[in-house]
């Protein structure tokens, strides 16, 4: 690789040929402001349409300013990133963008986390010219169960389009129209709810402004907590504890399990439980289903559907319902941990504390925005009363905690309540790519072989590689396991299954890059894989520290089966813990001529 020498702001730097000015400057510690640019280095995806012009720099000998995010370096180049001309141009560009942007920052959901706002601060914008008689874009606000699109606030950076198409291959969002009318929208400007959107929320996670935000359920939660006639139960997903601290200035990868439990108790939840408990339950059902299919297969049954695919992730479920409706029989029928928790809380637990289903409110804290939609699915309600009443994201929880004048940094560590707060290390690792299948393997191994698994750490299933393959030895029986995270990677494995090329027995799929730790409801990580890595390490650390690390050894799960469910896959378990899938693909009907 040949090297190129150039000068940026008077400093010499040597970089590889083909590097952009933006990246070369970064090497010198010069942070050129950007807006449309996005670097997802762990996925080798860069969004650099060069359209916003915020990152312009002066290149000696060139007449026009150059966008540094998409201009490559040349030998001997002399670049100025903060000359008078650059600063004035940059501010003018921003003022133009702001002239067609709502001025409701005080009440905007993104306020405080908005990159456009940060730019206005950084560039010292004190007034917005070009407003008189200026045209303003106006769009109808699009509400879906998980995501709100307020496209008046769109700056056409097209990061969401990159996530939706290049990373996730969902294809729900695309730039439409041209010039002033250009905006990112679903086909025919239909509501997101009618599109192929999976609610994975990766678009929300990268949107620099308030154009894409999650539905805010915190007011409903506050109302439920204030209602003296309601008992309010909370469950927290595994990935939340590994990221919540970041919202309070903590280092990525700081585990705040105990402080989070304390905060939830102080917020007024009557029972502070853990989704990890339901993750253990998921393993009992999904693991049994896997072994059931596998045994049939080994007995020579040609009809059996293999590989079995995990079904914990609602973004992934939405994806295959919309894009692979011909393969609805392959995924496990096990509900997600969130929904298993809700179903058990509103039956078994409600009975235990003698509270009517209607008077029990289940709140879930999720790293995910698709969980909001999942909780609203018709099949997860009894007589109109949902198993999970409100799902809020990690970001929303941080907001609730701050609103209640608490700080995770200063809270004591407390435990979850019993019984639905008791979990194993296997439940904890559900939050990271590879974790569900590792947890399932720990249990399935012991059930299948009848032997005790001595080494529970399956290192071969771990890592952040987009698609991973591993072989696990079940005492002579070699199981081929596939793992994909990010829906674009999942698509590749699914297409192999469709064309009969797949040799896997079981596949774990998570919609978000990294798994739930990189979920659309997590503190923003801006594609930084080091943050994802630290969150993953935190969950494996918590797993290691647990006394029990296999789901089937959780005494409270054993008790639940003994006193309530019977066996895994029993009729009752089927009714409460399993589900079915429907095609969500637009149907082309043919009219007779």
């Amino acid at each position: 690789m040949s090297l190129v020498k150039l000068t940026i702001d008077g400093q010499q730097v040597e970089v590889e040929k083909g590097t952009t000015i933006y990246k070369a400057a970064k090497k010198l510690g010069i942070d050129i402001p950007v807006l449309c640019y996005m670097d997802l280095h762990n996925m080798n995806i860069e969004n650099k349409p060069g359209g916003c012009r915020i990152c312009v720099v002066e290149v000696e000998g060139r007449r026009n300013l150059a966008p540094s995010c998409s201009t490559n370096v040349d030998e001997g180049m002399v670049v100025r990133t903060s000359s008078m001309r650059v600063i004035n141009a940059r501010r003018t560009v921003l003022e133009f963008i702001l002239s067609d942007h709502p001025k409701d920052c005080l009440t905007c959901a993104k306020s405080g986390h908005c990159e456009l706002q940060d730019l206005a601060v950084k560039l010292g914008v004190r007034e917005i010219p070009y407003q008189d008689n200026a045209e303003m874009s106006t769009y109808k606000v699009d509400y879906s169960p998980s995501i709100i699109r307020e496209m008046d606030k769109c700056v056409m950076c097209r990061r969401c389009e990159t996530m939706c198409n290049d990373v996730q291959t969902v294809g729900a969002l695309f730039a439409i129209n041209r010039g002033f009318d250009a905006v990112v929208a679903p086909a025919f400007e239909m509501d997101l709810q009618k599109s192929t959107c999976t609610y994975c929320g990766q678009c929300v996670a990268v949107c620099p402004t308030g154009a894409l935000t999650e539905v805010d359920n915190t007011p409903n939660v506050i109302r439920a907590l204030a209602d003296p006639n309601k008992k309010v139960v909370v469950q927290t997903a595994p990935a939340v504890r590994a990221a919540l601290g970041e919202e309070f200035g903590m280092e990525a990868g700081t585990l705040v399990t105990g402080q989070m439990a304390a905060a939830l108790r102080r917020l007024g939840f009557d029972y502070v439980f853990d989704t990890d408990f339901a993750a253990d339950l998921t393993i009992m059902e999904e693991g049994t289903e896997l072994l059931g299919r596998l045994n049939k297969f080994l007995a020579g049954d040609k009809e059996v559907k293999l590989p079995i695919l995990t079904s914990c992730c609602p973004g992934w479920v939405n994806f295959f319902e919309a894009q692979f409706p011909d393969m609805l029989e392959i995924p496990s029928t096990a509900r997600s941990p969130q929904q298993m928790f809700g179903a058990i809380a509103k039956t078994y637990f409600a009975d235990k504390i003698s509270v009517k289903r209607e008077d029990l409110v289940v709140v879930s804290i999720m790293p995910c925005v698709a969980k909001k939609y999942e909780s609203e699915r018709d099949e997860f309600a009894t007589n109109g009363n949902p198993d999970v009443d409100f799902a809020i994201t990690t970001r929303e929880l941080a907001h609730l905690i701050k609103q209640s004048n608490m700080d995770i940094n200063t809270l004591p560590k407390e435990d979850f309540d019993s019984p639905m707060g008791e979990s194993t290390g296997a439940g904890v690792i559900f939050g990271v790519t590879g974790g569900v299948i590792e947890a399932a393997t720990r249990t399935a191994y012991e059930i299948h072989t009848g032997k005790t698994l001595e080494k529970v750490d399956f290192e071969q299933l771990r890592g952040l590689e987009g698609i991973r393959k591993a072989e696990v030895d079940f005492d002579g029986l070699k199981l081929n396991i596939g793992i994909a995270h990010g829906l674009g990677n999942a698509r590749k494995l699914l297409e192999d299954i469709r064309s009969g090329k797949s040799e896997f027995h079981a596949i774990e799929i998570m919609a978000c890059p990294g798994g739930c730790i990189g979920g659309g409801g997590q503190p923003l990580h801006h594609g930084d894989s080091t943050i994802l890595k630290k969150r993953a390490e935190a969950l494996y650390r918590e797993d290691k520290g647990k006394a029990i690390r296999k789901s089937h050894e959780n005494p409270h799960i054993q008790e639940l089966y003994k006193n309530f469910l019977g066996e895994p896959m029993s009729d009752k378990a089927h009714h409460l813990l399993h589900t079915h899938y429907d095609s969500k693909k637009p149907e082309i009907r043919v009219k007779e001529d």
Binding site: S144, G171, A175, N177, A187, F188, P586, I588, R589, K591
Partner: protein, 163 residues
Amino acid sequence: MSGYKIELKKKDLETLKEVCKSFNNDPGELINVLHKAQSIFGYLPAEVQEVVAEELNIPVAKVYGVVTFYSFFTMKPKGRYPISICTGTACYVRGAEKVLDEFKRILKLEVGETSEDGKFSISCLRCVGACGLAPVVMVGEKTYGRVSPDEVRKIIEEYEDME
């Protein structure tokens, strides 16, 4: 996220599939496929875009993005005698806007609209490559050069007796 239904006549569906096939169902041929489809159907309704997306194995949002980007493509049926006024630079500076205004006034139509009897529609296009004849008007395949606003009524009258 919910499924929705679209309807298309059997004959049209088959024609459209043929068109896609003639371009090897290659996503890179999207613009050519749409071009051909519009020449057959006269416009590109949502149903047509859905089928093209399905056949080329690309998101329909992308097809819609392309359809709305290029002014040539339309989602509204054009008239039997589609009137196109060139508003490219040369035609514009030689008075295309006044010609356009006259068409709009006489036919009581806005750009992009089609008359109720389905006969005329007005659209603007950018440069047909006949700048020497500016301003240029096209009605269907027929080209009119150096059009002045007073000639507009005469052009319309040519088609009034036709079906």
